[in-house]
Amino acid sequence: MNFSIEMIGVWFAVLLTLSIFSYLYGDNPFYKSAEHIFVGVSAGYIFAITFWDTIWPNLFGRLFPSYVQAGFKFDIIYIIPLLLGIFMLLRLSKKYSWLSRISIAYIVGMAAGLKFYVFLNSNLIIQIKSSMLDFNTDIIGIINQIIILIGVISGLVYFFFSKEHKGTIGKISKVGIYFLMIKFGASFGFAVMGRVSLLIGRFEELIKYSSKEYSYSTPIILISMVIILTIWSVKETKNDKLKQINKR
């Protein structure tokens, strides 16, 4: 078994994959450790990526261009995000924690302004524009577009809040919910398709790692995990019974 860093990596990958899959059996020590390792590794990973890809090039790259050489020119206005960032850190001090509200206010205000404009354009105006009937399709194409029109309008009527859903509005919104349900069914069907593909990809990797070249890592780890898990669950059920006995 060639003992290289890369081989340890493969064994680690297979061990962690199988401990995540052990969750299907139920909550067990393998899953708990994989979960906690995942939380620690991902928190560290995101923190490092955030610093090296955002703060270092975009902020310090503009405040100290000569030192950072991220290709940006000096830009005095970037003092403000630096201040807002420090305000954010002041949350740790009881006295000045109210300053962090200004940074939050900036983000919330900016998000509201930008999303207002972007959603209005691409998700409202263009969608209204595309409800026009184009005639260079055959008769079935035109019927389809009429069905789409009915579906969109009845779907919107379903979302009426200030009107009682009775009488004609009730009937239209009933039709609307039918269209929405067909859309949800289609999304669910697609989701099944997507998830199965990912499982196939994962199993393919496990099969790849069970070859001689990777010194049969998957079968060895799989068998040892199954043995340990059976011992653990037998011990677990035993001391559950003990707890019940001394509780009575």
Partner: protein, 300 residues
């Protein structure tokens, strides 16, 4: 008659773990021997639109390829990126790679290495393709590329300044690209490219995405904001076959190396496992409903 009904009711209340075991078997068995089930793949309308719009591009056109997927969605998207890169390189198109997901850079590197190792095409870094690496910020970066690419990307993935790379000198913003193709698996994805860049500046955009995102992107496809869409792994298998046939009956042009055989893509081989598992899911739904109907009959 009575015990048949009981069997059906029991079939409707299988333990969760038994379902999980059945699903793993239905995936494992076809993967272990792929030629268990050979099935023809028929190209759907949207995949064909994507192929045609990329095929209309001419030599030396500039295409921006954006990688926004990671290892967890690699099985669905990676076959697409390889098929698309094969298609673009076979037409001598200049490919500009950006990634808005941290893992996107590695996926792009994997895809490029796989194509370079197959030495099907004579492509060179800095001449035929360039990788601008990863920038955090999602819509911020897309907005930056749309309005002025210099405000977001100043170096390529090897940290050489863009001004020193000839390929980049007449690229100022998204309008200098002839086509934008987005490989997306979540946020930021094809919706953000539509909203923040291509709608406003009228740049042709198409996308290959995970199956779950397809129903959200359909209104954009229907209104023409997205030129067709490649939907999940089945879409990837269809596109792979289109490119495979295209490359085969294309007499070797100056971009391709002679006597190199063209290998079929990965997605096609996984389709049998996909089909069997789908059938299993449908059976679950049918049995679940039969037992639901019988138990409801029994109660009232």
């Amino acid at each position: 008659m009575f015990n048949i009904k009981n069997i059906f009711i029991k079939l409707g209340q299988l333990d969760r773990r038994l379902i999980y075991l059945l699903v793993s078997l239905s995936v494992l068995i076809p993967l272990l021997n792929p030629n268990l089930l050979q099935l023809p793949t028929k190209t759907t309308k949207n995949t064909q639109i994507v192929f045609d719009s990329l095929n209309d591009l001419k030599e030396n056109d500039k295409v921006l390829l954006s990688f926004e997927y990671g290892a967890s969605t690699k099985p669905e998207i990676h076959p697409m990126s390889i098929a698309i890169l094969n298609h673009l390189f076979s037409k001598g198109i200049k490919v500009y790679i950006v990634s808005l997901w941290p893992e996107g850079v590695m996926m792009a590197a994997d895809a490029i290495n796989e194509i370079v190792d197959s030495n099907l095409f004579k492509v060179e870094y800095g001449i035929d393709y360039i990788n601008l690496g990863y920038k955090q910020g999602g819509p911020v970066v897309i907005r930056g590329i749309a309005t002025n690419i210099g405000s977001v990307f100043t170096q390529d993935v090897h940290l050489t300044l863009l001004d020193e790379i000839p390929m980049m000198n007449n690229i100022k913003d998204v309008r200098d690209f002839d086509f934008v193709f987005d490989l997306s698996a979540g946020f930021p994805g094809n919706a953000e490219w539509v909203q923040y860049a291509c709608d406003e500046y009228k740049i042709p955009l198409s996308s290959g995405c995970t199956s779950i995102m397809v129903t959200d992107a359909i209104p954009y496809v229907e209104s023409g904001q997205l030129k067709g869409i490649i939907a999940g792994m089945p879409g990837a298998a269809e596109y792979e076959n289109l490119v495979y046939d295209y490359l085969n009956n294309l007499e070797y042009n100056k971009f391709m190396n002679k006597n190199v055989d063209i290998k079929p893509g990965k997605a096609t081989s996984r389709m049998s496992a996909q089909s069997i598992t789908h059938l299993l899911m449908v059976l679950f739904i049918i049995f679940g409903n039969i037992s639901y109907y019988l138990t409801r009959k029994k109660n009232n």
